[in-house]
């Protein structure tokens, strides 16, 4: 069975309608003109900035990072994170590339635990 792959604009329109937002109302909430939003939904222009996509995802109860990826953008905080550890971070990303979603979730949990340990001074 083939699954229809939706563009960013199609996904946005479907989610907007499903959540009961009109084009005009949603454009006002996001802070853009209805004309621009309609152009985005028709895929006539590039998707908005990551910051704006995050606002859209928040309003639609969606996962911002997923939507930012669908828009072909990078989350705003990533460039800074990489710049702070320019060797280790790309290495980590390359090493994690190709892991299954379950393995990635485990890795994220482990990374969070390590970070919490460091912040808490190593107490259990």
């Amino acid at each position: 069975m083939s699954q229809r792959k939706l563009t960013f604009g199609q996904t946005l329109r479907e989610a907007r309608i499903a959540r009961g937002h009109t084009l005009r109302g949603f454009a006002a909430a996001v802070g853009v003109s209805p004309t621009y939003l309609s152009q985005v939904e028709q895929d006539n222009v590039d998707p908005p900035t990551a910051e704006r996509v995050r606002t859209m995802a928040d309003l639609l109860g969606a996962t911002p990072d997923e939507w930012i990826a669908l828009a072909g953008r990078l989350p705003e905080d990533l460039p800074d994170i990489i710049r702070k550890q320019p060797t280790a971070m790309p290495e980590l990303l390359r090493a994690a590339s190709g892991l299954t979603p379950r393995q990635l979730a485990e890795l994220v949990d482990r990374a969070r635990a390590l970070r919490d340990e460091r912040r808490g001074g190593g107490k259990a």
């Binding site: 309608i17 009961g20 009109t22 005009r24 209805p34 309609s38």
Partner: protein, 211 residues
């Protein structure tokens, strides 16, 4: 596209518009005060796709306001009417959305299964065929429902229009008719010209004497 459509009495068009608001009210709550939520009606109740496009360039028509593709369930309004970019066009925007809803409600059965790039109806500022006049009348009824209009008229003028003697014998010129219509037009978010035409049609304003 010009279609030869059967005659429809004004009261039938009025009733069709009122029924549509009743149906809308079951899912979204009945509108109790103007302006009427035609965007919600089109997108969320009728589930028609809605776009703002450069129709004038795409269709090569200088004064096109809106269009509908019946089989695609798609309505477009020209970008020159975007009410956020051009607040002065807000009334025309609402009327265009309501006009295309009029085609959907009154005329969609006239089309077969063939979709396509060419819209089935193109709403322009001039050239009024019967099919366009019917959609205009539907739009006026949808945006300015008579009971709400009478209520607003009464609020503004402090008396019921049918019981008032103040206006008897008054013959406004075109400018006076527009000035009289403007407060109501602002309330219903339509143009003063559309309001004047509606008030005249409902007997709430004497027809303007020719200039």
């Amino acid at each position: 596209m010009t279609l030869d459509v059967p005659f429809l009495r004004d009261d039938r068009i009025e009733a069709a518009a009122a029924l549509l608001w009743t149906e809308f009210g079951r899912g979204f709550g009945s509108p109790v005060a103007p302006p009427m939520p035609v965007d919600q009606l089109l997108e969320l109740h009728l589930r028609l796709d809605f776009e703002i496009r450069d129709l004038q360039a795409e269709l090569g028509l200088p004064d096109v306001h809106g269009a509908i593709w019946v089989q695609d369930r798609r309505v477009a309004v020209d970008r020159h009417l975007d009410p956020e970019l051009r607040p002065a066009a807000r009334g025309r925007y609402h009327f265009t959305v309501a006009h295309e809803i009029g085609h959907w409600q009154l005329h969609r059965h006239l089309f077969g299964d063939a979709g396509g790039r060419t819209p089935d109806f193109v709403g322009q500022g001039r050239g009024r065929s019967r099919v366009e006049i019917q959609a205009d009348r539907f739009a006026a009824s949808l945006l300015m429902p008579l009971p709400m209009l009478v209520h607003a008229w009464t609020e503004i003028h402090g008396e019921h229009p049918r019981r008032s003697g103040r206006w008897r014998g008054w013959q406004p010129g075109p400018a006076e008719g527009l000035a009289f219509s403007r407060p109501l037009a602002e309330l219903f978010e339509v143009s003063a010209a559309a309001m004047r035409y509606r008030l005249e049609g409902c007997g709430l304003l004497p027809r303007a004497r020719p200039a």
